[in-house]
């Protein structure tokens, strides 16, 4: 099917800038396009974002399709669907990628069904099969107990990609590319949904069970004051604080921070266990974590059994150092953007 060509990513805008997931998609899309020896396209839909097309090029896009019109200011399934359908039919990309975001998980499947093709959502790995040149779409299934790799023989081949699994490329302001403005021919009767109100909810402190990073303290923390230090690290990592049973019992932290079989069962990306021994009860509560970093002065502590990385030593010495290092790192990352 020679007419389907190029990799198209659907770009999202956050606070007037390209969303992090979009730059990640551009990076990943670039690799796929290179593997195919084809071009990378970026579709930008919205209003008042002229400068961003250039950004997309700086991050690797060869062509940017821009739909820039006031009605497209905010996401609406019917509106966005109709313009993306239009662009897709026009451009006929071989691959279309979305971020696994509120928009991506809404628009992606709709577009796929409308185009009569399939999509894999929430992918963590994408590759081109050398022989068939088909897109290999790998995603976690069964609560990440397994991973499945799919292919699809209809075009375009589509996927949504989980945030933060792909790395953003370095920005290259010197890159050149083509910006193509697309007319949004709006069809009012097609719009059957109307957004009445948009509410941004300030996340004041992330809930333990939702946090991607959890810093958890044990009996060794010794006091409520000690937990303040954990809170600081959690704050920097945009995470939450948890505790094993003794701190809860001793009233250093409220009971709802209990992590363990009998408390919260959590599965963050990163779990930092500080001065906790890791009873089996506790481990059941956190064993779903992707990465467990343990800090404990007892090298025999059970926590090291379940941890990915460990440091043996006194937490009171180690934690401030860690907090500083991470703070530096995060600040650096911000500067990068």
């Amino acid at each position: 099917m020679a007419e389907y060509e190029g990799v198209m990513i659907f770009g999202e805008v956050r606070e007037g800038k390209l969303a992090a997931v979009t730059t990640e998609l551009l990076g990943c899309g670039r690799n796929l396009a290179d593997a195919l020896g084809q071009e990378l396209y970026c579709l930008l839909v919205g209003n008042d974002m002229t400068s961003l097309a250039g950004e997309a090029i700086a991050y690797g896009a060869d062509r940017v399709y821009v739909v820039d019109t006031p009605p497209m200011k905010d996401y609406d399934t019917d509106l966005y669907l109709s313009v993306s359908e239009k662009v897709a039919r026009q451009v006929m990309p071989r691959i279309v990628l979305f971020g696994q975001t509120a928009i991506g998980r809404d628009l992606g499947p709709c577009l796929a069904f409308r185009l009569g093709t399939a999509i894999s959502t929430d992918c963590v790995e994408l590759a081109i099969e050398p022989g068939s040149k088909l897109l290999l779409q790998t995603k976690p299934v069964y609560g990440d107990n397994a991973r499945a790799t799919f292919t699809c023989e209809s075009y375009p081949q589509m996927a949504t990609v989980r945030a933060r699994v792909m790395s953003s490329p370095e920005r290259d302001g010197s890159r050149e590319g083509q910006i193509i403005n697309v007319e949004a021919s709006l069809d009012p009767p097609a719009v059957r949904t109307k957004v009445i109100k948009r509410v941004v909810e300030e996340s004041t402190g992330i809930k333990l069970e939702d946090a991607n990073v959890v810093v958890c303290g044990g009996r060794g923390i010794g006091s409520a004051e000690g937990f303040k230090k954990l809170e600081k690290l959690a704050e920097i990592l945009k995470g939450a604080v948890g505790a094993s049973r003794p701190p809860c019992d001793n009233g250093w932290v409220p009971n709802n921070l209990l992590v363990g079989l009998t408390g919260k069962i959590i599965a963050p990306d990163l779990y930092i266990a500080v001065a906790l021994s890791g009873s089996s009860q506790h481990m059941t509560g956190c064993s779903g974590a992707r990465n467990i970093v343990a800090i404990n002065k007892d090298p025999e502590a059970n926590i090291f059994k379940g941890a990915t990385l460990g440091v043996v030593g006194d937490w009171e010495e180690l934690l401030p150092v860690l907090t500083n290092k991470i703070e530096e790192l995060m600040a650096g990352r911000k500067r990068d953007r």
């Binding site: 998980r105 107990n145 397994a146 799919f150 699809c152 023989e153 949904t193 379940g306 990385l309 995060m330």
Partner: protein, 269 residues
């Protein structure tokens, strides 16, 4: 206020709360093998979709038809929505439906919904806990040409439209949608209710309706494995390193520096 006619799509899945050690993969056949002690349940997202429908019914009155597609559906499991308060249960239970993907499933369900005919709202879970695809809802909407609102957490319906609180990445939107429409429900809707004893007694008296492909006029090439648009080429278990790597260092500073480097290398932070 008029009664709302609702259809809820419920999927039977292996219990997502079963421990990871009960999962194995049969690499030969690219299939998940579960230990016999893992029970089947109604997908938790679907249960929440049902809960959302029940709340609409509580508020406005209405009728809820539950639609389930699968093979080896267990009567005790798929009947649960009835005991929770659904009015009717239709099962698409046939070997021909086996081995489907989001496409063939959405097709079969949309054909069944067409047959049901009268409806104001269709509810699906935002995704199902087994394959986590989240496509069947949008798929049905597309196939039936219905407006779609995904990841809802609150729904009120009436007067030809529904008002939905839809979860977004940084908050929520209040969306008005004309009926009929399809809504996928997010877990933020809250805990699904428990069946009452009365409900269970009542459910025992209701017989599910079973539809075969012919009953819904489905083309055999478009259902089950035959109707798949995707092909699973590989199924594998991510290798979890059992060993803990102890980070050494001559001083606390050095140890932590090494740790952070590791974390960064592994793109954990």
């Amino acid at each position: 206020m008029t009664a709302v006619r609702m259809i809820v799509c419920c999927k039977q899945v292996p219990d997502p709360e079963a421990p990871p050690e009960s999962f194995r993969i049969d690499p030969e056949r690219n299939r998940i093998v579960l230990t016999p002690g893992v029970s089947a349940v109604i997908d938790p997202y679907a249960e929440r979709a049902l809960e959302a429908a029940l709340r609409v019914k509580d508020a406005q009155g209405g009728k809820i038809t539950v639609l389930s597609l699968g093979t080896n559906l267990l009567p005790d499991v798929v009947r649960k929505p009835l005991s929770m308060g659904a009015d009717e249960l239709i099962l698409l239970d046939d070997e021909a439906f086996a081995g489907g993907d989001s496409w063939s499933t959405a097709y079969a369900l949309s054909m069944a919904i067409k047959k049901i005919g009268d409806y104001d709202l269709i509810f699906c879970g935002r995704q199902a806990s087994d394959w986590d695809a989240g496509q069947v809802g949008p798929g049905i909407a597309e196939m039936l040409g219905l407006p779609l609102v995904t990841t809802a957490r609150k729904i009120t319906a009436g007067n030809g439209k529904a008002t939905v609180d839809k979860i977004t990445d940084d908050g929520y939107e209040v969306v008005e949608v004309s009926l009929p429409a399809l809504i996928t429900v997010s877990n933020e809707v809250g805990e699904p209710r428990y069946p009452t004893i009365k409900g269970i007694m009542g459910a025992r008296k209701k017989e599910p309706v079973i539809w075969k492909p012919d009953d819904i006029g489905a083309e055999s090439s478009r259902i089950g494995a035959a109707g798949c648009r995707t092909k699973m080429v590989k199924l594998f278990q991510p290798v979890h390193e059992g060993k803990c790597e102890i980070i050494e260092g001559n001083s606390p500073d050095e140890a932590i520096a090494n740790l952070v480097t590791k974390l960064r290398e592994a793109r954990i932070v």
